[in-house]
């Protein structure tokens, strides 16, 4: 009886070794398979493929104020986006101008966007009733100077698009 | 156990317990002195078996600090909320339940850290997130520092 158990134990010892080695070989098959198949490489050579690299349309890169070809934007300085922003990343600075009809009205002076504090929550874009804002697909935001992350979104000399009332 | 049964059961156990405002779970406001006793009863009674404390919250309300215990039973699947109102805002203190539920030890340390509620007989009541020499309790409504986002 004792002999039998001994034989059994010796058998178990060798079975353990066999199963262990088999499992190791099984794992090596996976890495070996990928080693011989260079087509499975998934990493990209980034700066080289910059021309072909396209982000998804929805990608939230940075906020921009939409300008048309005549350098017109649609912001009417209602400040909703600034109020919706949880981090205070948007400052809308208005300036008063006297219109041709003699009334003073507020127009956009500077639309300041702090990319450094923006968390890309996306609350500002749907908040705008005029659809004046959108997220651009740019993604190379690294700069050496932190002040460059504070951006003025309205282009120089731009004005609000004249919409028929 | 059904909500009604639980209510009568609680009424028997602590006559001074008053039902709370929440409609989501049966809720009872328990006097601070009796909390540990009630909690032990809830945990050990075979009819309730509240063995899982899934949330312990400290609140800073107008009538004092609240400590809210969300208890549930993993076998009987019923939930009860206990609430302790600590009216003494200067020195809020309540008995610990960390001897009943191990999770409470760290929930209580968090409440102590951020709200300054003291838990008596707690084995290791130290700051958890903030440094040991931090002044003040940030989650209190009257806490002010230069970083607080004003709106």
């Amino acid at each position: 009886m004792a002999l039998l158990t001994t034989i059994k134990e010796v058998g178990n010892y060798f079975r353990e070794i066999y199963q262990g080695v088999a499992s190791l070989v099984n794992g090596m098959k996976v890495t070996g398979k990928y080693f011989v198949k260079p087509s499975t490489i998934v990493t990209q050579k980034y700066p080289e493929n910059r021309a072909t690299l396209k982000m998804f349309d929805n990608f939230k890169g940075e906020l921009i104020l939409i300008h048309d070809e005549n350098n017109h934007h649609r912001c009417n300085v209602c400040n909703t986006c600034a109020r919706k922003c949880p981090n205070g990343s948007i400052e809308v600075i208005a300036r008063k101008v006297v219109g041709p009809d003699g009334r003073t009205k507020k127009v956009l002076d500077k639309y300041i966007y702090h990319l450094d504090t923006c968390t890309f929550c996306g609350l500002c874009v749907p908040a705008c009733d005029e659809n004046a804002l959108k997220f651009d697909n740019t993604f190379e935001h690294a700069v050496f100077d932190k002040t460059k992350l504070v951006k003025t979104l309205n282009h120089p000399g731009s004005s609000k698009i004249e919409t028929p009332e | 156990m059904q909500v009604e049964q639980l209510t009568t059961w609680m009424q028997m156990l602590v006559p001074e317990a008053t039902p709370g405002i929440s409609k989501q779970y049966p809720e009872f406001i328990v006097p601070a002195a009796k909390l540990h006793d009630v909690a032990r009863q809830l945990k050990e009674n075979p009819e309730t078996k509240m063995d899982y404390l899934f949330c312990l919250t400290g609140l800073d309300r107008k009538d004092g600090f609240h400590v809210v215990y969300h208890l549930t039973s993993t076998t009987l699947h019923h939930t009860v909320v206990l609430r302790v109102v600590l009216a003494d805002k200067a020195n809020p203190s309540v008995a610990t339940v960390s001897d009943l539920w191990a999770a409470a030890e760290y929930f209580e340390r968090e409440a102590y850290d951020l709200l300054g509620i003291k838990f008596e007989n707690h084995p290791d009541l130290r700051r958890l997130f903030l440094e040991d020499d931090w002044v003040g309790y940030p989650l209190r409504k009257d806490y002010k520092d230069s970083f607080t986002l004003e709106r």
Binding site: S23, F56, N58, F120, C121 | I21, Y25, Y52, H77
Partner: protein, 373 residues
Amino acid sequence: MEETLMDLDLKEKEEYIINMGPQHPSTHGVLRFETCLQGEKVKWIRPHCGYIHRGIEKMSEALTYPQLVHLTDRMDYLSAHINNEAVALCVENAMGVEVSDRVKYIRTILAELTRLASHQLWWSAFGMDLGALTTFFYGLRDREKILDIFEESTGARLLQSFITPGGLMNDVHPNFQKRTKEFVKYFRKKLPEYDQLLTGNVIFQERTKGIGYMSLEDAISYGVTGPSGRGSGFHCDIRKIAPYSAYPLVKFNEITYTQGDTFHRYLVRMREMWESLDIIDQLVDNIPQGPTMLELKAVKPPKGEFYQRVETARGELGVYIVSDGGPTPARIRYRTPNFSNLFIINKIASGHKIADLVAISGSLDLVIPDIDR
């Protein structure tokens, strides 16, 4: 554990303390384990957290409900969608509104994709904790595909803040269904490879089996939920206990094991990936049409207190909103899964070797920002 803590104490009074973290490759973030060693053996562990405490609960008190959603992304950044969903559900329940079926379906699919992505990253990092560095790249390779799905629809890869009280920020991309189905098909082929590479490996099994035993009582008492708790037989899946969104409509199994060791915590997650794939399969083909956003005048829950439990990739997330009826919460409290999962480490890892401590903390799948908040 052959020797209890006390035996060790009697044998040797001298303490050899090393600090694992806050900058340490095995803690996956800024967490410090003050570890007392006796030779290779761990005597006790004292976790120190708070290195990235940002006061999300305090910050949220100054923000309106749609605004504070984006902060929840930053708690458990690997379950961002599920965290968003928790707040959204809590606010919706408080206001007594119900979102359309389309939103429910999409939320559930996104949540399951998030769970898959999270488990993939966990698998990668767990392999790396044990020294199998190649797993890291395989896991990340497959996770990228999920992140692509997210990016196409939500505009962000990691911190999407897509689910908002009342619905979704915008409708999903038309490609969403196609891509999701492609991914499910792709990943069903890759998942057996994970098992082949790591699960069956004899070294891996030796390293994890019987290590870090957590009893059911401990799991419940410490509130260890999620896959870590289910490895000990704790039926804590909120998707089953208190179903939300589209979970009542789908069939899936709650994976539990009673062994409670590191290997079975691992197995729970591996099998949960299969379950997640099944859930997505059931939902993705029949997303109903409907509005993706409720027409809400203002997101203002009535005066009162509201609690919502959801199942993130790591366990039970509770959102506790105390509202005074205003647009901002009077107090918001997150009962985060990792906070509760962390502190059991002293109990289950002391008495084991230092290498086991790494394996055990890996098997608890800790995400540090979720602990600190």
